[in-house]
Structures are given as C-alpha cells and as structure tokens.
C-alpha cells in the first residue's frame, strides 16, 4: 500500500517532521522518542490541565499519554497528524482520570446536555477591566480553569481543543470522534457558557477589589454607623 493511498482526503498536509521521527523510532532509534515528546509535551500538558484543572493530575496524564503513545506507536499509521493522535490519547486518558478521580466533575456523556437553547446569555455587561491587563498570569489561569470546571465535560473538551489548543474544527472533530457540525454546535454553547462564567467571576473580583479599596485606611476611622 503506497503512502499516498493511506492518507485520506483532508488528512494532514504538514506534519512538521513528526511522521519522519515516528518512522525513525520504529526503525529502532527509540532514543529519538524524547525529541517527539519535546515537541508535543506542552500541548499535551495544556490539554490535560485545562480538562482536569489540577497540575498534579495534568502531570500524571502527560506522563501516561506519552507512555501509552510509546507503547502503541506501531498502531499510528499516519492517517491523521501525530499531534491529533496524541490529543486523542490525552483526551481519553483525561476522561478516564476525571471519571476515576473527580466523579463530582464527571457527568455522563450519554446524558443529554441541558442547554439554554434560545435563552440569551445572562449578563451583557461590558467588562470593566481587561483580564489580560488587570490580572497576573497565575490569576488569569485560575479564572479560566475555574470557569472551565463549571462546563459540562463534553463542552469543556471542545473548547479546550478548539480555543485553548487552537486546533482546527476538523482536528477537534477528529480527536473527539465527533462530526464537524457537532463540534460547531457544542463550541457555540461552550463559548457562551464560558463567557458567562468568566464574566461572573470577573465582576465578582472587580467588586471585591472596589470594596477593598473603599474600605477605611486605618481601623481608627472605622466607626460603627
């Protein structure tokens, strides 16, 4: 079977040399697997962290994803990009971990998702401050992770792959085993919900900051009303 015939229409055009590396590793240069890992470790960690929220869990999942990739490297046939294949493993591993370690965050993907179809987003208030300017990187991460944690897992996965990982809609569909139309539907709801949750947190944080700044400077001024 020729290489071309194995590649379906719409499959990866540029693999950035991943396929060559995989071929080399399969040919016996197992040490080069670390090169492959170095290319994708950040993306895998990002995905796991955004899905699972905890850095410790994300580290475990990152390790497990690469170990499983190494174990099953023979089964990668280049029909999709290596990064998509890796993302698929990462998402599956994260799902299992989520179900095992945080059943409270896990809702069955079989259950119909209750959506607010037709309902307008709750808040349409201009943000008073831009989180990118007003908050440190760590605070931004925290805000985003907390907002993500409130999403249904199937929405969270879509928004993580599409907006955080910035995969294309097709790659997201491939990695999650969904149709493109399905990804688009989920993405719309996920984005609006994420916006709502983030807005609520930003407003609460801004209010708290206002209160703190309007509080009396010294306890002496704090007279009872």
């Amino acid at each position: 079977m020729s290489r071309e015939s194995a590649v379906p229409v719409g499959a990866p055009a540029g693999d950035d040399g991943d396929n060559a590396l995989v071929a080399a590793i399969r040919a016996g240069e197992r040490g080069r697997f670390q090169e492959l890992v170095a290319r994708h470790q950040r993306a895998v960690y990002r995905t796991a962290l955004a899905i699972l929220r905890s850095p410790e869990d994300a580290e475990d999942i990152t390790q497990e994803t690469f170990l499983r990739a190494l174990e099953h490297l023979d089964q990668f046939r280049g029909e999709a990009r290596f990064s998509t294949w890796l993302t698929q493993i990462c998402v599956n591993t994260s799902r299992m971990a989520l179900r095992k370690r945080h059943p409270e965050l896990w809702t069955s993907l079989d259950e119909p998702v209750t959506t607010d179809d037709g309902a307008l987003p709750r808040e349409a208030v201009e943000w008073r401050e831009d989180p990118e300017q007003a908050y440190s990187r760590q605070e931004q991460e925290e805000l985003l992770l907390n907002a993500l944690a409130g999403l249904h897992p199937s929405y969270r996965e879509v928004v993580v792959l599409r907006d955080i990982r910035q995969l294309s809609t097709e790659e997201t569909a491939q990695a999650l085993g969904l149709t493109v139309a399905n990804v688009k539907t989920r993405l719309l709801r996920a984005r609006l919900q994420l916006r709502d949750r983030l807005a609520a947190r930003l407003h609460a944080a801004a209010d708290a900051r206002d209160l703190a700044s309007s509080a009396p400077a010294s306890p002496k001024d704090d007279r009872p009303c």
Partner: protein, 274 residues
C-alpha cells in the same frame, strides 16, 4: 438583506468569530452587532474570552514537570522494547488500551467513556457462584442444627442434686418440688435426667423456664417432663418444655406464678433439708 433577531445572532456568533460564515450571513451578523448594544457587548466579551483562553502564555509546562516526564520516559525507553509496555505502571489494562488505540479503531471516533449502570460491571458467574455458596452454607448449617434437635423424656432436676442421683444410680422419681426451689438448687440450674441415667443440663433460658414452670405447678414429686431442645455439647438449648402428662405445652410465659406454692414451699423448707 438579512435581518437577524438576537437569538439568530447568538446562534451564529461562534461561526462568525471563526470566519466560517459566508458573505450575506457575515454581513447580517455585523449589522446586528452594530445595531444592538446588548449583542455587541456579548460579541465583544466572547471574543475576549476566546482571546484569553488562547493566550499562549497560559498553562506553561513547568520545567520540573518536563524534567520528570523525560526521566520517566528515559526509564521506559531504557527497558527492552517488549518490556516497555509493562514498564508503564499507570498504563491501563492492555485490553482497554488496544481497544482505544487498536489499528481497526485508529482515528475512528474514540469510544466515549460511559457511566456504567450499577448492574453492568457485575461478574455474573461469580455473583451466582456466591449466591449458590451462601445457599449451600445456609442449608448445611440449618440441616446440622436440625439434626442436633432432640426430644427427651425424663425428670426435671437441678444440676446440684442430679450429681447425687447419678452417683447413686437412682432415678429422681421422688425428688420433691420444694427441693428444686431451694436457692442452691435454683442457682445451680435445671436439667432433665433420662431413664438411662443421663443428665442434660438446660441452657440459662431453659432453666428459667423450668423454674417458672415449677413455681406455677402444684406437683410435689415425680416431676416428669418432655423437653425438646438443641444439643450443644453437654447443654440442651430448650425449645419447648412441658410436664410429661400434661396435654399440650404449658405456656410458662403467660401464666403468672401462683402465690400459694410459695407458702407451702416455706413450710417444706422448715420441714427437712434436701
């Protein structure tokens, strides 16, 4: 020209931001955002949300995490190729892994993990075997207990005096009721002495039943009883107890002890010792 409602606008906001809308729809969404301040705010804040989420600076991989990852992989790579599969401690069961990553399913939709119904994960053969084992054990125990139940006829006597009759090879035919009600005899507990000269001691509850039966009765001697109980070593766990010639069981629980025998018991006590 297309005119959108706010709902239409929101339904297309995601595709609009991704640049997936064609000319007319794109224009209609832009027009709506211009004319509707509320939707304009939603569009703006959603775009900022996505920009924040996509910020490449966020969720950086800490250097020490990367180091640990490479160290772990180096250990896995150092192992011989077939051992590499076993060198991954947290890796899930091979069956599960190959089901997800097998050649046939490669790039097919990944199996969605489902929450399993509470009966789904059962190992049915094991469950049935357990149920069978429990039934067999239960049946065996109840058969064995039933096999130890015996019905005896003999004389009601306390353990204190029984020893003397056994030593003399005599039957307590004339052993008087008043003796059985002596404190030392009551304290020693009761039992039944068969015509073969064997004494079966009652369990504590059986002794109390015997005492109540004695008190309720006005028999003076030849206290023959029929007792049914379970044999456990030297003790007979009394299930039913009645006077041998009485018709039916004497319900010792329902009959209150009569006061008259107590008076007579006092008279007997002064008359002679057992």
């Amino acid at each position: 020209m297309l005119t959108l409602t706010c709902e239409d606008f929101l339904a297309r906001i995601s595709e609009f931001m991704d640049g997936d809308l064609d000319g007319a729809w794109r224009q209609a969404v832009s027009d709506h955002a211009r004319d509707c301040p509320r939707c304009a705010v939603i569009l703006d804040t959603t775009q900022r949300t996505i920009r924040l989420a996509g910020d490449a600076q966020l969720f950086a991989l800490p250097a020490e995490v990367a180091e640990r990852l490479h160290a772990r992989l180096a250990a896995a790579l150092a192992a011989p190729a077939p051992a590499a599969t076993t060198a991954a401690p947290p890796a899930p069961a091979p069956v599960e892994a190959s089901a997800e990553l097998g050649p046939a399913s490669l790039m097919a939709p990944p199996p969605l993990p489902r929450r399993r119904g509470w009966l789904e994960g059962w190992n049915w053969p094991l469950a049935w075997a357990l149920v069978g084992a429990v039934l067999i054990i239960f049946g065996g125990v109840s058969w064995w207990q039933q096999a130890r139940i015996r019905t005896l006829q003999g004389w009601l006597i306390d353990a204190h005096c029984a020893a003397r009759y056994i030593a003399a090879g005599d039957m307590p035919v004339s052993h008087p009721r008043w003796c059985l009600l002596q404190p030392a005899c009551v304290a020693s507990g009761y039992g039944v002495m068969t015509a073969q000269g064997r004494f079966w001691r009652f369990n504590r509850v059986g002794s109390i039943r015997a005492l109540l039966m004695l008190r309720a009765s006005n028999r003076k001697m030849n206290l023959r009883i029929t007792v049914r109980g379970q044999e456990r070593g030297p003790i007979l766990y009394v299930r039913s107890l009645r006077w041998a010639r009485a018709k039916g069981l004497i319900s010792v629980r329902l009959r209150a002890p009569a006061p008259a025998p107590r008076l007579r018991q006092a008279a007997y006590m002064t008359a002679s010792a057992p």
